[in-house]
């Protein structure tokens, strides 16, 4: 939409011709001003060139393009919510049936597709459908655009044929996994979150799997939006699950009970885990709730919202167990579970840390190594920053 808006327009005009539609709507978030202005320019140019409007290319085919700016709600990507928003109503999904193809925008039959799909139409037609479909696999033919990001050397938008493996994407295209400090030291890949905030994660064992719809479904993930967030070994998977959960619960429209209440309660349970309050029941309840939100939600947002939790539970159970039962975070990312300890051999009893501690958790005296009272410690890390002898470790 920003770089080549005409590809989307062309795809929509072709689709309009194919189904006999005379009006097309592009729903674009108003927070993407570049996309909005470029689309508007493109529509104007297309109208002037006679690609849009009355009697296109002298034929009987009329096609008008309208650009509708959305106020920015994730759920308005759900087709029925999107159409409600265009109609000026609250962006809430409606039960299906009726499907948009039967009764869609303003009650009329509607073809609704993603930008990527429409943009691919002219390419596929130019190439010849057979040539295009020969790429990828039998059931997932053609190419897919991914937004590669996270702990990789090269981030950005990439287009690859379906069937490309994760390893090819991360190593060949992404230039390998990097550390938190941005350096590629090789072999510390941990996982990749695929399919956006409601996708799932893939791990070491999936590195050589061909990426296509069927394979991903089998392992509990999805192509979704085409997001690929690469994570290195220093990443806490529970915090990642919490991060995505926070997003989906913020973006839930609030219509159906399981999504509205369920995502919030999942977030609470994840917080309990991250902050050291969890018990065996917490993790049991989280699993049960994740299942209920998945099967019970009205629309795709809710049905897929538990994916980050379910897939991290599946592939990183031991990490959950460590948080819940051992009250430790293996990657040291969860502050509440980390313990600051003074190494007696290195402590010079200078008292700097004790004076810096905001809750007076550190005590000691001259000549004797200082100690941190773990009951009082709030894990703020000030002591570690203050120590001049690196005597405090996490």
């Amino acid at each position: 939409m920003e770089g080549n808006p005409h590809s989307v327009l062309e795809g929509m005009i072709i689709a309009g011709k194919a189904v006999g539609a005379s009006v097309g709507y592009i729903y674009v978030r108003t927070e993407y001003p570049l996309a909005v202005s470029n689309l508007k320019l493109a529509v104007k140019a297309a109208e002037e060139a006679g690609f849009l409007g009355k009697k296109i290319f002298g034929s009987d085919f009329d096609f008008e393009m309208r650009i509708m700016e959305g106020a920015g709600a994730f759920v308005c990507g759900e087709e029925t919510a999107l159409m409600a928003s265009i109609e000026g109503k609250r962006g809430m999904p409606m039960p299906k049936p009726p499907f948009p193809a039967e009764r869609g925008l303003f009650g009329k039959p509607t073809v609704i597709n993603n930008v990527e799909t429409f943009a691919t139409v002219p390419v596929a037609m130019l190439m010849g459908v057979d040539v295009y479909a020969a790429k990828g696999t039998e059931k997932s033919s053609g190419t897919k655009t991914f937004a590669l990001t996270g702990h990789v050397a090269h981030t950005g938008l990439i287009e690859v044929p379906f069937s490309t493996t994760l390893r090819e994407i991360i190593v060949d295209i992404g230039g390998g996994v990097i550390d938190d400090d941005g350096v590629n030291r090789g072999a510390d890949f941990k996982a990749v979150q695929i399919g956006g905030p409601s996708g799932g994660c893939l791990t070491q064992e999936h590195l050589d799997m061909s990426l296509d719809y069927d394979n991903l479904l089998k392992v509990g993930a999805m192509i979704g939006s085409g997001g690929l967030v690469v994570m290195n070994q220093q990443t806490c998977m529970i915090k990642i699950a919490r991060f995505f959960m926070q997003f989906t619960q913020n973006e839930s429209c609030g219509k159906c009970v399981v999504c509205r209440e369920g995502t919030r309660q999942m977030l609470e349970l994840l917080d309990d885990i991250i902050e050291g309050r969890a018990t065996a029941e917490t993790i049991e309840l989280l699993e049960e709730l994740a299942h209920v939100v998945k099967i019970g939600s009205l629309c795709g947002l809710g049905k897929t919202a538990p994916n980050p939790v379910l897939s991290t539970l599946k592939y990183f159970r031991e990490e959950y167990d460590a948080h819940v039962f051992d009250k430790t975070c293996p990657t040291g990312q969860c502050e509440a579970l980390s313990r600051y300890v003074i190494v007696p051999e290195l402590c010079k009893s200078c008292s700097l840390c004790a004076r810096a501690c905001p809750v007076d958790a550190i005590s000691g005296s001259k000549g004797v190594p200082y100690v941190i009272d773990q009951e009082i410690c709030i894990r703020c890390g000030v002591c570690m920053d203050t120590c001049k002898f690196n005597a405090i470790v996490k």
């Binding site: 913020n250 009970v257 399981v258 509205r260 209440e261 049960e288 009205l298």
Partner: protein, 663 residues
């Protein structure tokens, strides 16, 4: 054609045109739990409680799924049971669980379903972040801490009543139901009909209780407390004490009221008889003069407010008669004070109504004399049942009592006021006599369960066309036809609640058609059993008219006036005001009607024009807002000159006239 069947938990059930799977499943005698399904409003699909397992399709909500031949449905798998229980747990975790003090306790769907499903513990964190209780309305209390966000109130207000004063705001976990612009409920366009209360599965919406005030008055030895009972109450109050819908319990109600301590027990139907005479005369006069027709009835206060808000042009067509409740009130305060020789302040008039809008009506300023209202307290059917229970009265064991005279005497015509069509029928009976056409007892054409009915009635050589409509969305449709000239009537009876007062917002919550029909029949049976059937035959009324009510007095006591509530009377919205005194003043109406005619675009063009011509420093721009459909938009006022159907060119022309400036 072969009949289509589905299998529900092993039972074969035919599909017979039901709207959805849920309705078919009910025929297998399985009542699926739901919070958001009501057959009379649109399917919402949000509570997820009615999900069932369909072979080959997995879990689906039965409310939004069509039944198809051969479908095999399971309603009670392990997965479904877990799902339902967890949904209830999730709801309870975000719900004020102080059930004992909740007005809905005992009738609450959440309570009932939680019990039914055996939810014994809530494993989730309690999160209480609710907006405060809103008791700004005279009729309805909103308690967000009880709301389960099922949207039933939103849809009933919008779809059945076409008022649409409630909607969702915020999203996700912060979602709430709010009144328009999140303003206090008492200040918005709510017509107080209480249909939202009837569909609310929990205690988020409830009638505003006046029980305490009534006890206070009863216990005050200085006060004489008289009570009037509306027709619809007598065929529904029994439902709170184990009687079937429609069972008339007038006798027990009277005894109970005496035991509660009311001094005189009267019948609103007496005032209804009086309404018939007043409204009948008014109608015949208008009919003969051919003025202000169709005449609209005015006994439903929710309808009156609706008309004031949305059809101010029709207000001259409304009957000027007060409603029976208010006629009763003003009559009591005038007559009884003399008979009993007491001060107005010491006479307390209480009414028992099937209605929440009556609470609002009693508080309308025109029904006050100084600080003293004609009707002091309005109790709903439910509130009376609570008072009876509070005193420990075993209602079902009571010996029937009888009304006090004179205001306890009524004819059958006054009693059928509680049914949709009843007012029309009562007026016709009177009109028939007045036109010397003898007795007209049953006008069956006026009865029936349909929400909009048209009847053509001949009385001698007079032929009348009557419209009977209940439910305000239905009323809106009918009036729009009258306005456009598509339909023509002599008399239109409007009741805000579908079926009339028997389905009022203060009634027991069941509103299924079978219950309503029984209540309607209950009132018709009462009519049959009474001695007289036409209001003019009421001997006490005859005496009153003869002795006390001169025409002038009747007008003063029994008639009222209406006000246009359409225009928003707030100050204009100042958009831009220059520091120095403005030489140019532009005011543009951005109300709906003008907006639809391009006021917004015109506004942008004009502001751009002002800036481009360097006039920002000398121009003041303001916007007005109204929702009158004046058909004159866009309306722009430039230095006091009003330009209707204004275009950009015309506005510029005017601007140039006012001030010369370089283009």
């Amino acid at each position: 054609m072969k009949k289509a069947y589905i299998t529900v938990d092993g039972i074969h059930v035919p599909i017979e045109g039901e709207k959805n799977l849920l309705e078919v499943i009910r025929k297998a005698n399985i009542e699926l739990p739901t919070f958001c399904y009501h057959s009379e409003i649109s399917v919402y699909g949000a509570c997820r409680m009615c999900m069932v397992d369909i072979e080959g399709r997995g879990l689906q909500p039965s409310c939004s799924t069509s039944a198809a031949d051969g479908m095999v449905v399971k309603t009670n798998t392990k997965e479904i049971r877990n799902l339902r229980k967890m949904i209830v747990e999730l709801m309870l975790a975000h719900h004020d669980q102080n059930c004992t003090t909740c007005p809905k306790s005992g009738e609450c769907r959440l309570q009932e379903i939680a019990q039914q499903l055996g939810v014994s513990k809530v494993r989730f964190k309690q999160i209480h972040d609710f907006a405060p209780l809103d008791d700004s309305s005279d009729a309805i209390v909103r308690d967000p801490s009880k709301c389960v966000l099922c949207g039933d109130c939103v849809r009933v207000c919008n779809e059945i009543q076409s008022v649409g004063v409630l909607d969702f705001a915020q999203r996700g976990f912060s979602s709430t139901v709010v009144a328009s612009f999140d303003k206090p409920f008492g200040t918005v366009e709510c017509v107080n009909c209480g249909q939202c209360i009837k569909v609310c599965p929990v205690g988020a919406l409830s009638p505003k209780s006046q029980i305490d005030g009534v006890w206070e008055a009863i216990h005050d030895p200085k006060k004489k407390v008289v009570v009037q009972i509306a027709p619809a109450v007598r065929v529904s109050l029994g439902e709170y004490f184990g009687y079937k819908p429609g069972a008339a319990t007038s006798g027990q109600i009277i005894t109970a009221l005496r035991m509660l301590g009311f001094d005189q027990i009267y019948d609103t139907a007496f005032a209804a008889d009086l309404t018939v005479l007043q409204e009948g005369d008014e109608f015949l006069e208008r009919y003969l003069k051919g003025q202000n027709l169709p005449q609209f009835t005015s006994c439903c206060p929710a309808w009156v407010k609706f008309a004031e808000q949305y059809y101010p042009d029709m207000l001259p067509n409304l009957s000027t008669c007060k409603s029976p409740q208010q006629m009763f009130g003003s009559l009591c305060k005038d007559q009884l004070t003399k008979i009993l020789d007491i001060e107005r302040e010491d006479l307390v008039v209480v009414s028992i109504m099937p209605c929440t809008a009556k609470k609002y009506e009693a508080k309308r300023p025109e029904f006050f004399e100084g600080d003293n209202p004609d009707v002091d307290f309005v109790l709903t059917t439910k509130e009376l049942s609570l008072m009876i229970k509070e005193q420990g009265i075993e209602f079902e064991k009571l010996e029937p009592g009888s009304y006090d005279m004179p205001f306890g005497f009524k004819t059958g015509a006054g009693v059928i006021f509680g049914n949709s069509g009843g007012v029309s029928e009562a007026v016709l009976r009177y009109a028939a006599a007045k036109l010397n056409h003898g007795k007209m007892l049953d006008v069956r054409e006026l009865r029936g369960p349909e929400s909009t009915r048209v009847a053509e009635i001949s009385i001698g050589d007079v032929s009348l066309r009557l419209g009977i409509v209940s439910g305000l969305a239905n009323a809106r449709r009918l009036i729009d036809k009258v306005r456009s000239g598509e339909e023509n009537f002599d008399l239109i009876e409007v009741m805000a609640c579908c079926g009339g007062c028997i389905n009022g917002g203060g009634q027991p919550t069941s509103s299924d058609q079978e219950h309503l029909s029984k209540r309607a029949k209950g009132l018709q049976d009462q009519d049959k059993m009474l001695q007289f059937h036409s209001s003019q035959e009421n001997p006490y009324l005859q005496e009153l008219m003869r002795e006390d009510l001169t025409e002038e007095k009747a007008h003063e006591l029994l008639h009222t006036f209406y006000q246009n509530r359409k225009r928003i009377t707030l100050d204009d919205i100042m958009i831009r005001r220059p520091e120095q005194e403005a030489e140019l003043s532009i005011k543009i109406c951005l109300g709906t009607s003008c907006f639809l005619r391009g006021a917004q675009t015109l506004y942008s063009q004009l502001t751009d024009y002002i800036t481009q011509n360097g006039l920002d420093e000398v121009t003041e721009i303001s916007a007005s807002f109204c929702n009158e459909l004046c058909q004159k938009g866009p309306v722009v006022t430039i230095n006091g000159k009003i330009l209707e159907h204004c275009t950009f060119e015309r506005a510029v022309q005017e601007l140039k006239k006012v001030k010369s400036f370089a283009h």
